[in-house]
């Protein structure tokens, strides 16, 4: 692997990310599965870095999941999106940052479609007015939340309490980065580093002291693939896809997986459990899995947040081995206690996955 070669490509795919003043929209999946990640994002950007990140309770789903599962037509999806944009304009913002990759992809797709087919834009503009009495607007800049953390990676590194380094051996932690398909595979130019060798997460890992693993099946989808998971008859494909990725990354012995998509952390995490319990195979050291984290969670750990406040207990694959390597203090007793100190329940104990 020739690192310079990659740098050359990364340099071809830089996008300009304004430093401040963003209209933030959450992700349906993430706020239900990893609510703490989005909380962490806001805490980091607002409190640590003092940025102006605005969000409103009026914002809704982008319609992505429905759209990709063929349950709503494109025009409907576009109108929903037009409404989000209109809200942004209404609150006086022109930089749009979204937490969800599916949304990000759909936003890009929609804006490109409008550019290619102005008549569709006109139609949507009309729909928007008819349905919501809102003025049509388009963001000046569209970024994904991970683009922002990428932008701020060095600021975060500057305040780091922990590094992505094995405190016992001093060796950088090996991280597998996994990009959501819709981040740059549809429009390589819209993602930092393009589609073949995306840099957005690599940048973070490098800035925070870790080391990136480039394994053969890196490009593959996490396995969600909408229909592949949502239609139960297809779930075998979803699982096989993920399995292929793990088989391929296994020889590199990764310490963690970092993701920037709602689906990916979920499936890379849960399918490890399913593979373990249905085939007996685990991919981490001595019976553990490979911890799968969102970029906010990683950033949080680097900044020294409490793992349980970051919601790491909601992962199927226990983060403890990683925390130990990073030398992060944590109280096992508090793992399954909510903010109010009450027990939030715990996953069934597994036969194979520790």
């Amino acid at each position: 692997m020739i690192y310079e070669g990659k740098q050359k490509i990364w340099s071809d795919y830089q996008k300009d990310i304004p430093d401040d003043h963003y209209f933030y929209v959450r992700s349906c999946i993430r706020q239900s599965f990893f609510p703490a990640s989005e909380a962490a994002f806001l805490k980091i950007t607002r409190q640590e870095l003092g940025k102006d990140i605005f969000e409103t309770e009026h914002h809704t789903t982008c319609g992505g999941i429905a759209y990709h599962s063929d349950t709503i037509p494109q025009e409907t999806a576009m109108t929903i999106i037009a409404r989000q944009f209109a809200l942004m304009a209404k609150y006086g913002y022109e930089n749009y940052v979204c937490s969800c990759i599916t949304s990000f992809g759909l936003y890009c797709e929609t804006m490109e479609t409008w550019r290619e087919f102005p008549e569709l834009e006109a139609k949507v503009r009309e729909n928007l007015w008819k349905t919501c009495k809102l003025e049509f607007a388009k963001p000046k800049v569209l970024v994904h939340a991970s683009d922002l953390i990428y932008k701020y990676r060095n600021l975060i590194a500057a305040q780091a309490k922990h590094k992505l380094v094995n405190v016992h051996t001093g060796r950088p932690l090996r991280a597998v980065e996994h990009i959501g398909c819709h981040y740059s595979k549809m429009f390589p130019s819209k993602g930092v580093g393009g589609a073949e060798y995306p840099y957005v997460l690599v940048g973070m890992i490098e800035a925070w002291g870790g080391e990136i693993i480039d394994y053969p099946e890196r490009r593959h989808c996490c396995g969600f693939g909408f229909r592949q998971y949502l239609v139960k008859g297809n779930r075998g494909y979803s699982l096989s896809n993920t399995h292929k990725k793990f088989e391929s990354m296994e020889p590199y012995q990764p310490d963690l997986i970092i993701t920037n998509c709602p689906g990916c952390p979920y499936f890379l995490d849960r399918w490890q459990y399913v593979i373990a319990e249905s085939t007996g195979k685990t991919y981490g050291e001595n019976g553990h899995g490979i911890p799968v984290l969102t970029y906010e969670e990683v950033a949080g750990l680097v900044l020294g947040y409490d793992p349980w406040d970051l919601g790491l207990q909601t992962h199927q694959v226990g983060p403890e081995p990683l925390l130990d390597k990073m030398g992060i203090e944590y109280d096992p007793a508090r793992k399954f206690l909510g903010k109010d100190g009450k027990d939030i329940g715990r996953p069934e104990s597994c036969m194979y996955l520790k």
Partner: protein
Amino acid sequence: MKNNILIIGGGPAGLEAASGLQRLGYNVILIERSSMLGGHLASWDRLFPDGVSARGTLKGLLAQMDGVKCFTDTEVRSINRLEKSYNVILSNGITVLADAVLVASGFDLFKAEKKEEYGYGIYDHVVTNADLEAWFNAGPDSDTRIDKPKRIGFVHCVGSRDEKSGCRSCSKVCCATAVKQACEMKQAFPDAQVYCFYMDLRMFGRHYEDLYLSAQKDYSVRFIRGRVAEVSENVDGSLLVKAEDTVAGKPLKVTLDLLVLMAGMRPSAAGKRVGKLLEMPMEEDGFFAVRDGILAGQRSGLPGVFLAGAATGPKTLPETVAEARAAVVEIDRYLSDIFPNVKNYKTLVRERW
């Protein structure tokens, strides 16, 4: 006095045309951007289909160059059109009053790193057709990427027949080159397994089919119909290559120790610059447009400006040389029409006697 003819480009087309025009008694000035004559031919080892030596062929071309004024490391700085001729200022300060200009700017090889998924310049064992020829020339230890490979793959149509990489058309020579190089690699590594990934095998020329058959029969090269879609590197540095075997109708993967990308022909950047200075009509793919593909294949849109070789699209060497000769005739015809009283022939004859 004689007519001046400026030839832009010192590749096979430029050389062949220069010697031809010189023989007719014209005053020929040839400029070449790089420091040596011969163009891509100079960096090639053997030529398909019969494996003749590129060096020998180039020697043959250079042998007839005496009398031609050659300037290497020289480019066109500016051209302005006068009534009957062109006033050309060269980068070496010399000014030429050219009665005819022959643009033989040839081609650039497609930059293989643009096909990111193939990992040229990123993976340790991915090379191009040009790298391989250089290796044939320089010898076994000249390229660390080629390290006693046991499994070798050739990818046809890299940067050809591929709108994503900006070239819809076929580069014409890659199929034959790939098959030639596949055989040569088999000669170099007799127990290697060699694969060719092709979309269509365009072995259109004389002896090309024999080359193909011999590759199968004598060198047991495996031809797989399907374009390589994705290349990645294994932990041991070997390559995991994915394609579809479209004949079997199934996806396919194979582990290789060396992958050779058959970079196609793109219009030469330097040629484009000259084209802009002259405001010469180009086709959308960047190759120069000819006035008439059949009857005036050597004439550009502009009077007195002529074209030969790969400047007007991918060509094989024999075609390039033939076009150069055709250009000689076209230029001679043009000049004797425009400058009837300039007697290049007479002077030639007198010199001869």
